[in-house]
């Protein structure tokens, strides 16, 4: 099998596996082939790359930013940046972690940009829900709004730490790596975010704070 055929096969395989993240050795092999195809400039490679990781990146963005009217643009940004910098990825087996870091970088940029822009904005930014959440209960939708309203008050780094650890459920090393900081730094941020989140919930949103005491009820009420 020559090089171009191997790339085509990898792309074909990845395309079939769209929206599914592969695990273990197969994933590593697939990632290696995918990175090779991306570096070689295969015309189908970007689409295959997106099919393989689009959902994952969107999920990470959603975890960090919540419902966001710029979500589509940010998702696009992540892949444009990744494609532009794929040449710097030396170890293809770390593609997913590398992409996670890229995603967090883009999300942090969006958060910081908005934070910087706050002082020039005399009216609250228009936060249009870009996609309706098909949850059945108003209470459920309310929970999302409340959680992200509190997260919105946190420093971007702390907010990211909170989202990666608690919402996405990454392990501490994974979350630290995705944030591009040492484990110790991430732990500090997480601790700060815990404290700040609870303090703000207690101060500004007692209902959310009370909800923290009985989170499972949200689930039971919906089921």
């Amino acid at each position: 099998m020559d090089g171009s055929m191997a790339v085509s096969e990898a792309v074909s395989t990845l395309s079939r596996n769209s929206d599914e993240l592969r695990d273990g050795e197969e994933s590593v092999r697939g990632d290696a082939a995918l990175v090779a195809s991306l570096k070689s400039g295969h015309p189908e490679a970007p689409a295959a790359f997106f099919d393989a990781y689009g959902r994952y990146v969107e999920r990470l963005l959603l975890r960090v930013l919540g419902r966001d009217h710029e979500m589509e643009d940010l998702l696009h940004d992540v892949f444009v940046q990744a494609l532009a910098n794929i040449g710097q990825l030396r170890d293809p087996s770390r593609l997913k972690a590398w992409l996670a870091r890229m995603t967090v970088f883009v999300a942090r940029g969006a958060l910081r940009r908005r934070r910087r822009g706050k002082w020039l904005v005399f009216m609250p930014a228009q936060e249009l829900p870009d996609q309706k959440i098909p949850a059945t209960s108003h209470e459920i939708r309310d929970l999302l709004d409340r959680v992200f309203a509190v997260l919105h008050c946190l420093h971007p780094n702390d907010r990211i730490a909170f989202s990666l650890r608690y919402i996405e459920g990454l392990t501490l090393p994974e979350a630290a790596n995705a944030s591009g900081v040492s484990l110790a730094t991430f732990k500090r941020r997480l601790k700060r975010s815990d404290k700040e989140f609870l303090a703000r919930a207690q101060r500004n949103d007692h209902a959310l704070y009370e909800t923290l005491l009985e989170t499972p009820r949200w689930r039971t009420s919906d089921e």
Partner: protein, 460 residues
């Protein structure tokens, strides 16, 4: 608390995953990636000409600095002879034999008549908000170009710019009175908003609650299917508006179960401790306290009669080990904790019970309402009971509790939540007429609240 945050995060993730099922956004991005060159430049929001960007930013900064109103400090206040304070939500009570002036640093004063009680709810650079719990206050607000002052009394709010007026509020009779001596104020109440000036003389209003709910005697959940007379009517009812002052809401005849005037025992709390000791609240005249059954535990021990050694629950409570209180104490010790602890202890204890899904949570909240009637804790307990009943599948009972909370604390910290839940509760109870009324009230007060969409859908 980490575990709870993880649970919350997992719940958020679960809800978000539903949104991820919609692949339209990914399809759109996929299309963009296919159309655009692979290594296209990111559409970054950068100034192509840094000098121009810097100049614009500098200009904007200069404008902002010129328009900046200057350093503004939150005003402080002094109650009687106390030192200047900026603390909020601390009750200030006037002695029974003299007035108590609260002097604010902006020159405004609130004079509490003897026996009255109030607290400062908010302080800002241009004013304050004071809540009169009961009694009478004579207010003089110093006029300024930006002055924003408010005085809350029950469901009424007097918005002031600069004036002198007197407010009286008797929550037990739900009677409100306002007399303006100078200028004019804007008075908001359950029936809307109006301007009141000196020429109006004294304005009096008697509250008409939206549903017939008599707050006293507080509902106590029976410990067993056969209710003990000792748990009923632990103290006489606080005087409420008479029947002619209470607005009746008719339920559709087809409704299977009418809402009672007070919530029935909660189904959640059936496995309660076997006995509920009788308690006489502070407000109860001794002569009217019902006699205790012989088998009942002794009433609350007064400070003088308290044992020297602190009870086990107290030590645990002081260490905030409320879950331990629930799990390690005997039923008798638990009862002791519930009937001797202060409001804060009980609220924390109930929260711990909810955390551990202990069915005694509702019982504890009922005790809070019984023992600390008229306080924020009691009102909040009503809200919590409403929530618990809502989740327990008893929307009718939940609605009654939520109405109780809203009546007792129309501007309370759970008011928006309670108002929204009330709509849901009535909807689940198939009570369309009350759901509509609740939706109207919600939109009037919280037009942009989280339940606004639901409220509008109900009205449509």
């Amino acid at each position: 608390m980490n575990e709870r945050l993880e649970r919350l995060g997992a719940e958020v993730a679960r809800i978000q995953n539903e949104a991820l099922a919609d692949g339209r956004r990914r399809n759109a991005v996929r299309g963009r990636l296919r159309r655009a060159p692979v290594l296209s430049e990111r559409p970054a929001l950068r100034f192509r000409r840094p000098a121009l960007g810097f100049a614009l930013a500098s200009g904007a900064l200069a404008v902002i600095l010129l328009m900046w109103p200057g350093e503004s400090e939150v005003i402080g206040y002094r109650a009687g002879e106390q030192s200047v304070s900026s603390r909020v939500d601390e009750w200030i009570a006037a002695p029974n034999n003299q007035t108590l002036p609260i002097v604010f640093s902006d020159g405004s004063t609130v004079k509490l008549s003897p026996g009255s009680r109030a607290r400062v709810r908010r302080l800002s650079a241009v004013g304050a908000s004071v809540e009169l719990e009961h009694g009478e206050a004579t207010v003089h607000v110093h006029h300024g170009s930006e002055t924003r002052w408010a005085l809350e009394a029950g469901p009424f709010v007097v918005h002031v710019i600069g004036t002198r007026f007197r407010v009286q509020w008797e929550p037990s009779e739900e009677v409100f009175a306002l007399e303006v001596f100078e200028g004019a104020v804007r008075l908001s109440g359950p029936r809307g908003t109006r301007h009141v000036s000196r020429s109006d003389g004294e304005v009096r209003a008697k509250l008409r609650p939206p549903v017939q709910v008599k707050p006293e005697p507080e509902p106590i959940i029976e410990p067993s299917p056969a209710p003990s007379p000792a748990v009923r009517a632990p103290r006489p009812a606080v005087a409420t508006s008479s029947d002619d002052g209470v607005e009746q809401i008719q339920r559709p005849s087809s409704e299977p179960r009418p809402l009672s005037s007070r919530p029935p025992p909660a189904p959640l709390e059936l496995n309660l401790p076997p006995k509920i000791p009788e308690v006489v609240s502070d407000e109860t005249p001794a002569s009217e306290a019902p006699a205790l059954a012989e088998s009942d535990p002794p009433p609350i021990q007064t400070e003088e009669s308290a044992p020297v050694s602190e009870p086990a629950w107290k030590e645990l409570a002081e260490n905030s080990e409320y879950e331990e209180v629930l799990s390690s104490l005997s039923p008798e010790q638990f009862e002791e904790a519930v009937w001797q602890g202060d409001a804060s202890d009980l609220v924390n204890l109930a929260a711990a019970a909810r955390r551990t899904r202990d069915a005694r949570a509702g019982y504890i909240y009922n005790v809070v309402r019984s023992r600390f009637s008229g306080t924020d804790s009691a009102a909040n307990a009503a809200f919590m009971l409403g929530r618990m009943q809502f989740h327990a599948g008893a929307p009718g009972v939940a609605a009654t509790w939520l109405e109780t909370y809203l009546r007792e604390r129309p501007n309370g910290r759970f008011a928006r939540e309670a108002a929204g839940r009330l709509i849901e509760a009535y909807l689940r109870a198939d009570d369309t007429s009350r759901a509509t009324a609740a939706a109207q009230r919600y939109l009037a007060r919280h037009p942009r609240g989280p339940h606004a969409a639901l409220a509008r859908s109900v009205l449509q």
